[in-house]
């Protein structure tokens, strides 16, 4: 029993003692100074790259004149990513519960879906949905069902959203499955013993706990998706990459436009990381209070 005191980290500092307080303050100052140094290095790197660009006749004036069209594209990128991550989350929820269910049909369909999507490139999936599906639609129309055939002919934006949702839904199915499985079996048993139905156990006990574990991963997936959404530019969706490409070709300003595009993605992902950190902090508080 007494050995328990030695299992954790040794209590080096008692923060209530003045000496401890001094130590904490010192640590805080050290961390602050370290932060300033790192920021300086970043600033130096950015200055270096900028200097190099200027020497190599990259035109900052052109970049400044065109950042606003990229900003419009960023709106589309964000919109496509937000809608896709939301539907991917729904798919993943459905997929993970199916994979864990005892129903062989649900299990089979979910397993097939995950395997198929994870085993093929996203770009091929985009082509299949945007260029392949209309072919099927035409066949069905010719068979005399134009109403059904029309469903298969998607505009670029819905096609992009569908492709991203399906793709991320599959990867996130595995993340959700791990999250659901991480909730101890005792939780399920306690709920069953209270008389809960499987649906109630999932909704009231397992999901609320699993979501706290899953949220950081969904954030990571959202950040990755913002970058992967560049692939939907192949369908002519007016998002960041497509717009950058278009202007770059027209004016032969490749470096300029793609640098602005890169900056736009970078800023988007940094903002998303902040949002994610803030969300996680709030979630963590709920367990304590």
């Amino acid at each position: 029993m007494t050995t328990e005191n030695f299992t954790g980290a040794p209590p080096l500092v008692d923060p209530h003692q003045s000496m401890g307080e001094g130590l904490v303050a010192l640590q805080k100052r050290n961390r602050f100074i370290q932060g300033i140094k790192v920021t300086a290095v970043w600033a130096g790197l950015i200055a270096l790259v900028t200097g190099g660009m200027l020497m190599l006749r990259i035109s900052p004036a052109y970049m400044l004149a065109h950042y606003n069209v990229i900003l419009q594209g960023a709106g589309t990128t964000l919109y496509v990513s937000l809608v896709s991550i939301a539907s991917a989350t729904m798919l993943a929820l459905l997929g993970s519960i199916s994979r864990l269910s005892s129903n062989p049909i649900a299990q089979g369909i979910a397993g097939f879906y995950v395997s198929l999507v994870r085993g093929t490139p996203l770009l091929i999936q985009i082509y299949l949905i945007y260029l392949g599906l209309p072919q099927i639609g035409e066949q069905i129309t010719q068979l005399g069902f134009p109403a059904i055939g029309k469903i298969f002919i998607l505009d670029a934006v819905p096609a992009g959203i569908l492709a991203l949702s399906l793709n991320y839904g599959a990867y996130m199915t595995e993340i959700f499955r791990a999250g659901l499985q991480s909730i101890g079996y005792g939780q399920r048993e306690a709920a069953i013993a209270l008389g809960m139905t499987p649906l109630q156990v999932m909704r009231r006990i397992i999901l609320p706990q699993a979501i706290r574990i899953i949220i950081p991963d969904v954030g990571n997936q959202f950040i990755a998706m913002q970058k992967d959404s560049a692939l939907v530019s192949v369908m002519g969706v007016w998002e960041i990459t497509y717009i950058a490409n278009r202007y770059a070709r027209r004016d032969s300003k490749y470096m300029e436009m793609f640098l602005v595009a890169a900056a736009a993605y970078w800023i988007l992902t940094i903002l998303s990381s902040w949002l994610q950190g803030w969300l996680e902090k709030r979630m963590a508080q709920a367990y304590e209070r």
Binding site: E189, A191, I192, A193, G195, M196
Partner: protein, 256 residues
């Protein structure tokens, strides 16, 4: 004593694959009776308890709880409904507490009434507070489980089970996961419940509790009930040599 039993287990068998864990178990619990099950680790005590509320599926035999009878091997909607109703009539307390960490203490206690019984929240809160008071933890109602000691967690778990107003309480080694200094507070709560007339079936290694509180002690070994009688007789003049050995081990201070 010979009123209608509240629990009647007859001819119960349980196999885990090839492992014959319970062999022809027949026991009864009368209303307001406190029955303690003792036995060595692995003798099948938990499995027996878990068969009564169908956390484990019995392989053969019959389970009766408050006039509801379920026969092993039956499937179908009607059977599932019976099992559901039996679960409503039994409250279960686990060795590992299994409180819901994402809910406050009070929310843990009212979760059953609100979600399962569809009780109005205000009414459930009233019942929840009353039962938290019974286990002496009303002051902790807004706390989250991770802020409680092990003993307090287990008392909340008892309140959570009581809030469903079950006909019988099942305890599976409720103090085995506790530090020695926290065991007393949980046993005291259980003793109080027993005095209030709660029907209890308790798997335990706490021989002092069994001797003092139980009306009857059931001794299990290798998946069978080898002896059952009132505590004085089991502890003072055990008949089966395996019971003697078990009690001897506790006398000499060894747990399990």
């Amino acid at each position: 004593m010979n009123a209608e039993p509240i629990i009647q287990v007859s001819g119960l068998h349980k196999w885990f694959g090839m492992l014959h864990v319970l062999s022809d178990i027949t026991i009864e619990v009368q209303p307001r009776e406190v029955v303690c099950i003792i036995g060595r680790s692995g003798s099948g005590k938990s499995t027996l308890l878990r068969c009564i509320n169908f956390l484990e599926e019995p392989s053969a035999g019959k389970i009766m709880v408050d006039k509801l009878v379920v026969e092993a091997g039956k499937k179908g909607r009607a059977n599932r409904k019976l099992i559901h109703e039996i679960r409503l009539k039994t409250g279960m307390v686990f060795q590992e507490f299994n409180l819901f960490p994402h809910m406050s203490v009070l929310d843990n206690v009212i979760e059953g009434p609100v979600t399962v019984k569809r009780m109005e929240r205000a009414k459930a809160v009233e019942i929840g507070m009353m039962n938290l008071d019974r286990v002496g933890l009303l002051v902790k109602k807004d706390e989250f489980p991770n802020r409680l000691s092990g003993g307090q967690k287990q008392r909340v778990a008892i309140a959570r089970a009581l809030a469903m107003e079950p006909k019988v309480m099942l305890f599976d080694e409720p103090t085995s996961a506790l530090d020695p200094e926290l065991i007393g507070e949980v046993l005291n709560v259980m003793k109080k419940l027993a005095q209030e007339g709660t029907t209890m079936l308790v798997v335990t290694h706490e021989m002092g509790f069994a001797r003092e509180v139980a009306d009857r002690v059931v001794v299990m070994a290798e998946g069978e009930v080898i002896e059952q009688a009132e505590p004085a007789s089991v502890f003072n003049s055990p008949r089966d040599p395996r019971t003697q050995a078990l009690i001897e081990r506790y006398r000499s201070g060894g747990a399990k």
